[in-house]
Amino acid sequence: MISDSAFWLLTVLLGIGTFLIRFSFLGFLGGRQLPEWMLLHLKYVGVAVFPALFTPLVIWPEATGGVTDPIRLIAAGAAFVIGLRVSVVWSIVAGMGTLYLLQYLTG
């Protein structure tokens, strides 16, 4: 059971902290021109953060207790290839579809 006081303390502080993280550069730097070297690095934020987020989730899924699941690897691969070749919607459909299909086939 989560105590009310712990919950509210955490939620309010997490709300404030998360806002400050999001506000940080955009809020305090504002319209200032960023140096060239920084712009160069910032172009890679997306491709740097997202694979680092999803790779451990694919390789060590929480749902299997961290055991690598070949079906999830294949489904992730399908989502990636379709995402590169076709579109975002089909990437999501391919990922979940492959997962369901293989889970169904393997019982």
Binding site: L10, I21, L42
Partner: protein
């Protein structure tokens, strides 16, 4: 003109509804399971709007972790957004302070990725179109996040585990990554991020994510500089 950019953003973000709906419902269900009431569940979703950190904080609180530890772990999960914030400066930094604060509050992964992807592709947008486009993206994702958290919390029934909804999260991020891989340096950065995230997975407080992202960013930038230098040498 701006209205068109707004609806363009709204449409471009639409596919992610497929992910946001089950994910936010899952949060509603999990929060009620953990013993939160309706007001608490919704307060958390509205004050924080950052799914991964909300799940982290709840799980730790449920395990009777001290508030400070739960807070630090959840904030570490959100640190990546400082990088989003910086990446948005060149595109949105010109907006008024109040607008920037609102943009900061609404900054979520999917909309960030869709917006930056659009900004960096031709045809170039005007600064005010970029702002309108950003709000178009967020205006779809954020209300859905609130609404379906509420629905999940009201239904309160555990979603059957056969649906493997946990897998919707990595699939979402895979779908976000693919269109961002536009050049060789982008591909190299993604590969480094993948390997490094596994290598540093053992670090506490999700710091592995941060280290991996940092290494990938530096590698991508260096690869671009290297290719530029080589191209310059080839055509003197």
């Amino acid at each position: 003109m701006n209205r068109r950019a707004f609806w363009r953003g709204y449409r471009d973000c639409a596919p992610f509804i497929l992910i946001v709906v089950p994910y936010s419902m899952l949060f509603g269900v999990v929060a009620r399971d953990a013993g939160l009431d309706l007001l608490q569940t919704m307060s958390m979703s509205v004050l924080v709007i950052a799914g991964a950190s909300q799940f982290t904080a709840l799980a730790l609180l449920k395990d009777q972790a001290p508030v400070f530890i739960a807070l630090m772990a959840a904030l570490a999960v959100n640190l990546r957004m400082a990088m989003y914030s910086a990446a948005l400066v060149p595109h949105l930094g010109h907006a008024r302070l109040g607008t920037r604060a609102l943009m900061a509050y609404l900054m979520v992964d999917q909309a960030f990725a869709v917006a930056v992807n659009r900004y960096e592709k031709p045809p170039a947008m005007t600064p005010s179109e970029k702002v309108a486009y950003y709000f178009g993206c967020m205006m779809l994702i954020c209300p859905a996040w609130y609404g379906f958290t509420l629905l999940g919390a009201l239904l309160g029934q555990a979603i059957p585990p056969e649906l493997s909804l946990d897998f919707a999260v990595p699939v979402c991020f895979i779908a976000l990554t693919a269109p961002l891989i536009r050049s060789l340096p982008h591909a190299i950065a993604a590969a480094v991020a993948t390997l490094a995230s596994l290598l540093f997975a053992g670090l506490p407080w999700s710091l592995g994510l941060f280290v991996a992202a940092f290494l990938a960013m530096v590698t991508g930038a260096q690869a671009e500089l290297f290719l530029r230098r080589r191209a310059r040498r080839a055509t003197p």
